[in-house]
Symmetry: T
Subunit: 146 residues, 12 copies
Amino acid sequence: MIGLKLLLLNGPNLNMLGTREPEIYGSETLPELVNAVRGYAADRDVELRDYQSNIEGELVTAIQEARLWADGILMNPGAYTHTSIAMRDAISGIDVPVVELHISNVHAREPFRHKSMLSGVCLGVIAGFGRDSYFLAIEALIRHLS
Amino acid sequence: MIGLKLLLLNGPNLNMLGTREPEIYGSETLPELVNAVRGYAADRDVELRDYQSNIEGELVTAIQEARLWADGILMNPGAYTHTSIAMRDAISGIDVPVVELHISNVHAREPFRHKSMLSGVCLGVIAGFGRDSYFLAIEALIRHLS
Amino acid sequence: MIGLKLLLLNGPNLNMLGTREPEIYGSETLPELVNAVRGYAADRDVELRDYQSNIEGELVTAIQEARLWADGILMNPGAYTHTSIAMRDAISGIDVPVVELHISNVHAREPFRHKSMLSGVCLGVIAGFGRDSYFLAIEALIRHLS
Amino acid sequence: MIGLKLLLLNGPNLNMLGTREPEIYGSETLPELVNAVRGYAADRDVELRDYQSNIEGELVTAIQEARLWADGILMNPGAYTHTSIAMRDAISGIDVPVVELHISNVHAREPFRHKSMLSGVCLGVIAGFGRDSYFLAIEALIRHLS
Amino acid sequence: MIGLKLLLLNGPNLNMLGTREPEIYGSETLPELVNAVRGYAADRDVELRDYQSNIEGELVTAIQEARLWADGILMNPGAYTHTSIAMRDAISGIDVPVVELHISNVHAREPFRHKSMLSGVCLGVIAGFGRDSYFLAIEALIRHLS
Amino acid sequence: MIGLKLLLLNGPNLNMLGTREPEIYGSETLPELVNAVRGYAADRDVELRDYQSNIEGELVTAIQEARLWADGILMNPGAYTHTSIAMRDAISGIDVPVVELHISNVHAREPFRHKSMLSGVCLGVIAGFGRDSYFLAIEALIRHLS
Amino acid sequence: MIGLKLLLLNGPNLNMLGTREPEIYGSETLPELVNAVRGYAADRDVELRDYQSNIEGELVTAIQEARLWADGILMNPGAYTHTSIAMRDAISGIDVPVVELHISNVHAREPFRHKSMLSGVCLGVIAGFGRDSYFLAIEALIRHLS
Amino acid sequence: MIGLKLLLLNGPNLNMLGTREPEIYGSETLPELVNAVRGYAADRDVELRDYQSNIEGELVTAIQEARLWADGILMNPGAYTHTSIAMRDAISGIDVPVVELHISNVHAREPFRHKSMLSGVCLGVIAGFGRDSYFLAIEALIRHLS
Amino acid sequence: MIGLKLLLLNGPNLNMLGTREPEIYGSETLPELVNAVRGYAADRDVELRDYQSNIEGELVTAIQEARLWADGILMNPGAYTHTSIAMRDAISGIDVPVVELHISNVHAREPFRHKSMLSGVCLGVIAGFGRDSYFLAIEALIRHLS
Amino acid sequence: MIGLKLLLLNGPNLNMLGTREPEIYGSETLPELVNAVRGYAADRDVELRDYQSNIEGELVTAIQEARLWADGILMNPGAYTHTSIAMRDAISGIDVPVVELHISNVHAREPFRHKSMLSGVCLGVIAGFGRDSYFLAIEALIRHLS
Amino acid sequence: MIGLKLLLLNGPNLNMLGTREPEIYGSETLPELVNAVRGYAADRDVELRDYQSNIEGELVTAIQEARLWADGILMNPGAYTHTSIAMRDAISGIDVPVVELHISNVHAREPFRHKSMLSGVCLGVIAGFGRDSYFLAIEALIRHLS
Amino acid sequence: MIGLKLLLLNGPNLNMLGTREPEIYGSETLPELVNAVRGYAADRDVELRDYQSNIEGELVTAIQEARLWADGILMNPGAYTHTSIAMRDAISGIDVPVVELHISNVHAREPFRHKSMLSGVCLGVIAGFGRDSYFLAIEALIRHLS
C-alpha cells in the first residue's frame, strides 16, 4: 500500500496537549505528538498531513476537503464528538474512511462523554490508550486500506 | 411588492451539494442552485443575496447583519437546525421574518433530525421538496411580505 | 402537467375556521378558503376536490379512496397530526404523494404539537404561513408531479 | 490586590445588546456596557480586557490564551452556556478561575436554558441582575483573588 | 340564572353504564342516570340536552355545535380524556365553559389515566364521586354562570 | 345526615388568600372564605372545623387527629399536593374520606402542578372553580356520607 | 364445543389488504381472507361474523355489542392497537374473551408499534404469522372455550 | 410437510411447571406438557426434541446447534425474554425460524415483562393461552414451513 | 437608597455552618457570618434582619411576613432549593424581590442539586462564592433597589 | 462496648403504628414498640433515647443535635425517605453513623417508595422485617461500633 | 426453633472476597467468612449449607432446589441483583423466605446498583454492614421463622 | 517486553464466526481467527491463550483466573457487553488491564448496542475494524505493557 495519504484531524483543546489536565492527557505537546505520529507513518511509507482547530465549522471544512486527496482520516474530535451533527454529515458526505480516536477512555468519564454523534458513520473507534491511540489508528487505517 | 431584498442562508455541508449523498440531495451544485433561485427571485423583482458557511457563529453574524438590509431570510440551517440556540437567539433578536427550509424530509430520517431548535422562532417551515423547497420558501416570503 | 387532480383534506376543527381562535387561524371560513384554493388550482389547470371530517377513521377512508383518482393530496390533519398511526398507515398504503400542511407554526405552540406521526411518510411539510400554507402546498405538489 | 488583570468574555449575540429583545436585555450597547465595567474595574485597580465572538471555537481559544496573562475571567457565554462541551474543556484546562454570568434570569425562561454545561467547572454563577451581573462578577472575582 | 341550557356529553363506553365493571361504575344505566340528572337540572330551571358517542370526531362535532346554543357543557370524556387533542382544540375553539367530570377516581387507577389532555382547557375538573360527579358538575356550572 | 362533622384543611400559602396573586385566587381572605363555607355547612346541619398550616408535618398531624372526630375532610393541600408522601400516608392511615380541592385549575398551570401525590388515596378531586370549589367539596362529602 | 359464535374484528386499513404494502401484508384481499377464515371456522362448526371499520368508535361499539351474542372475539386492531384506551375499556367491559392478532411481526417494525394498549386486557396475543395469524387465533379461541 | 424436525426450547424456571405459581402456570409438570406436545407433533408427522435450561448461555448454544438439524424452533424463553441480547444474536445467526411463546399473558403482568429483546428477530409471537400456547406454536411452525 | 430593610433567610442545616462539611462550607459559624453580613449592610445604611429554620413551612411564613416590612430578601434555601413548591408559591405571592444564593457551587455537586424550584421566581441567583455569596447578594439587592 | 448511647428516630405517621394499615405495619403501638426496643438495648448495656416527629425540619434538628451525644442513630424516616434532601444533608453533616430502617419491604410497594434520598449517606439499610427491623438495626449499630 | 436449615447463597465474584477491591469488601476470604457464619448459625442450632456460583442459571437452580429442604435463604446476589428476572422468578416460585443482603452499601455506589430486581419478592433487605450483613441476615431469618 | 502472556476472551456467539451474519462478521471461523492472532502474537514473543464461552458466568470465572497468570486480556464480550455487571465487577476485581474489542462498529447498529457496561472499567476500546480489531488490541496491550 505504497504512498497512502492520511489526514490527522484534531479538534478543540487538543492544541493544549501537554498543558491541559496532564493526569488525563499526558505532558507531550501536540506538535511533539504529531511529529512522532508522522515519523511512525513515514516508516510505513504513509504521508501524514495534520490539522487542528477549535472551530467546529473548520473541522467540517477540513473533512470535506480531504475527499479530494486523502485515503483516510484519523480524527480526535475532542468535545465535538458528543454533539456535532455537522461533522457527522461531513463524514457521511465523503467516501474516505474515518477512524475516531480518543486519548482518554471516554466511557470512564462524565456521562455526557459516553455518547458519540460520530461513531456511527466512522469506520471504527479507538479510545483510551493515551498517545498510543494515534498509532493504533494509523495501523487500523493502513490495514483497512490494504 | 417591488424591490424586496432577501437573504438566502445555507448552513454546514450545503456547499457540498451535488457531491454529498446525491440520492438524498440531488446532483445540482450549490452555485447552480443559488443561480436558479436568484433567477426565480429576479423574475419577481426580488433581489437575492446568498451566504453559506460551515461555521455556526458566522451564520449567527449573517442573521444579525440581515436586520440592516433584508426584508426576509430563507434559511437552510443544515445540521445546526437541531442544536443551535445561538442561531435561535439571533433570529429572535431581529425583526426580519425567517423561513426555515430543508431539502430532504427531515422527519423521515434519524430521530435526532426530528427536533428543530429554530422552527419555534421562524415564520414557518418548508421541508422535503428537494430543490423546490427553496422556490417555495421564496414564494412564502413574498406572500408574507405583500 | 395538464389535468392534475388533487384532494384537499382537512381534519378536525378546520370546519370551524373563521370562528375558532381567529388570532391563530384568521377570520376566513373554510368554504371561503377552499374556494380560493380551488380557484388558484383551476388557474393552473388543476382540479381540486375537498373533504373535511372531524372523524379520524373517515380521514383514513378518504386517503384510501384517493389512490383511485388523485395525483396528489394536500392535507391539514389538524389535531390528528400528532397521534394518528391509522392515517400514517393509510398514507403508507397508497402511491399518491401527500403534502402535510399547517396554518399555524406548530413548533411555536405547546410541546405536544411539535411531534408529527405523519410527516415521516409524507412527501414534505409546510407549516406556519397562515392560509398561504394551502397555496404553497398546491405549488409544491404541482412542482413535484411535473 | 493591586494590578489584577481580568478577561471579560462575551458569547454569541451579546454584540447585539441594545438592539436585541430590549425588554430582556436593556437598551445599553455592548461597547457602552464594557466601558462602564472597565471603569468600575479601573476604580479598583483592575485591568479589564474584553473579547466578544459569535464563534464557539474562538471563545475556546480566548479562554485558552487567558491562562497566559489573566488572573480571572468573567464570562457571559450566551447560548453556548447550554451546549458547549468545548468551552467546558477549555475552562477545565486552565488554572484561571471563571465566573459565569447572565444578564437575564435563565431559570425563568425556556427549559433548555435551565441547564448549563459550564457552571460545574466555573468558580460560581451570577444570573438575573441585568447589567449589574457584570459588576457583581467583577466584585466576586476580586474577592476571590484577594 | 333562569333558563340556562347545558349540554351533557358522554364519551366512549359510557353507554355501557350499568353493565360494564359495576364495581367501578355502579349498576345504574346511562338513560337512568341522564334522567336523574335532567330532573335535578329542571328543579333548578336548567334545561339539559344530552349526547353520547363512542366516536371521538362526533364528540368534537357536538362540542363545536354547542357554541350555538349552550351556556355550559358538562362532559365525561371517558377514554378520550387521556389522548384527544381534537377534543381539546374543539373546547379551545368555543366560548362555552366546560366542566370535565369522571365517575371513578382516575388518579387511583392505571398511570395512563392520570394524564388529561383536556383539563387544561376546561373550567375545572370533578372526579371520583360516582354518579354524584354529574350533579356536582351541574352545580359547578350553575354557580359559575350566575 | 344530621350532625356531620367535617374538617376543612388548608395548606401552605392559603393563609395569604386575598393578598397573593389575586388574578388566580381572588380577593377574599381565608377567614372570610372559611366563614362563608362554615355558614353554608351550618345551613345543612354540618359542623365545620378548620385548620391552616404552612408546615407539612402539622397538616399530617391534623389529618391523623381527624380520625377521632371527623366524618370527612375537605382539603386544599396547596403546594404539598405535588410532593407530600407524608400526607398521602396520613390519608391512607385513616378511615375518613378526604376530598382534594383546588381553587385554580392546576392542569392549566406549570407542568409540576399537573401531578398529585394525594389524589390516588382521596375519595375524589375538585379543581378549578375558584371559591366554589370549597362549596362543591362540602356538597360532595355530604352526598357521599348520606 | 358445538355452535360457537365468534366475531372477527378488523381495524383501520385492513380493508386495504392486498393493495397496501404487499411485501408486509400479502396480496390476498380482506374479503378473500375472511372467506377462508370463515370456511376454516365452519369446518369446526364455528359460526364467524366479521366486521371491519376504520373508525375507532365503531370498533368500540362492535366490541360492546358482541357481548350479547359472541363466545369470543378475534381482533386485528391495526393502528389502534397502540393508542386506543377506548377499545381497551370496551374489552374490559365485556365478559367475552378477546384474542389480539397481527399479520406482521409488530416487534420487528417501528418502535411505536412495540407497545399495545390492548394486550393487557386480552386473553392472549398472536403476531407475525401473516394470514396464518387469523387461523391460529380461531384455534386459540376454540381451545380456550372448550 | 413430512418429517419436520422441531426443537422445543424452554428457558429458566420452566422446569418448575406444576409447582411454581400454579394460578399463573397451571399444575401440569414440564415433562407431562412436553409429552403432550410431542404426541401432538407426532400426530402431524413432526419429530420434536426438547431442551430446558436455566442457563442463558446453554440456551444460546442450543439455538446455535439447532441450525444443523432443526426445521424450526418453538421457544419459551422465560425470564430471558426481556434481557437476553445473546439469545437474540443466536437467533439472528441461524436460518431456522423461531416462534416465541409464553404461557401467561406477559402484557398483563409487571411492566418489565412487556418488553421482549427477542420478538424482533423471531418469526412471530404467541402469548397468553396457557399450555395451548405450545400447541399453537407447533401449528404456526407447520403452517409456516409448508 | 437610605434605610433599606432586608431579610436574610437561611434554610435547613445552615445553622450547622462551621461544623458541617467544612471543606465545602468553611469554618465560620452562622452567627459569625450573619454578624459580618450585618456589618457590611450597616456600612451601606441597610438594616438586616435574619432568620434561620430547618422547617420548610416556617421559611414559607417568614417569606410571607417579609412582604409587610422588607424591601428585599436574600435567601439561602439550602436543601429546599430543589423541592419546595411551597416556598416558590410564597415568593410568587409577595412583591418583594428575592435573591437566591448558595455558598457552594451547586452545579459541581450531585445532579439532584442542579435543579432549583425557586430560581424561576427569584430576581436572580448567586452561587459558588463561599461566604462571599452573601455579600454579593446584598450588593445585588442594593443595586436593584436603587 | 459498654455505655453506648443511641438515638431512635421515627418519622411521619409512625406515631400511628398500631392504628394505621395494620396489615402492613402490625398492631403494636409506637410506645409499645419503643419500650421493647429500649429493653432490648438495655440488655446490651445500650442507652436508647427516642424521638418522633411528623415535621421534616424537626427530624433534621434531631439529627443535628445527636452529634453532641449519640454514638449512633437508628432511623425510620417514613415518607421523608424518598424526598428529603434536608435530612440527607443533616446526616452528611455529622460524624455519627446512621442506620436506615423500614418496617415494610418498601421495594414491594409503589414505585415512588423504591428510591431513597437517604440510603447513600447512611451506614446501611434494613427493610422488610416488620418490628424486627428495629432490633436488627440495634444489632447492626452495636456490631459496627464495637 | 430447633433445627432450622438455611441456604447461604453467594453470587458472582463473591468467590473473590479477600482479593477483590478489599477497600470495599474487606480481606477475609469467602471460605473464612462462610465458616464464621456457619459457626454463628450452629450456636443457634441452625444448620447452614452454602453455595456460590458465577453463573446466573446455577443460582436459579439452587433457589429452586432449596424449596425441598431449606427453611430460609440468605442470599448475596452480587451483580445479578440489578438485572436477574430469572432469579426473581425462582424466588417467587418457592415458599421459602429469602433475605437479600449486600456487604457494601449499594446505594452509595454507581446508579445502576441502586435498583434491585429481587428486593420486591424477598422478605427483606440488609445492606451496607460489611461481613456483619451476613450475621444480621441469619438473625433476621431466625426471628422471622420463630 | 519478552514473554508477555495474554488471554484472548470471546463471548457468546463468537463460536459461530464464519457462519453467523457473514456480511457483518466475515467468513473466517473462530479457530482460524484465533490461530492467526496467536501467530501474530508469537511473532512478538507474546504467548496467547484463548477461551470462548456462551455463558456469562464462565466468562466471569475466566477473567478472575487470569489474574493469576495473564499480563493482559483482550476481550470481545459479544452480547454481554451491554448488560453484564458481573463481568464489570470481575474486571474491576483484578489488576490485569483489559482491552474491549468488537468486530463490528457497534455504534452503527441498534441503539441497545451503543451502551457498554464494561468500557468504563477497561483500559480502552477498539471497535469496528473487522478481524483487525483483534490484532490492534494485541498491539494496544503490548504498547501499554511496555
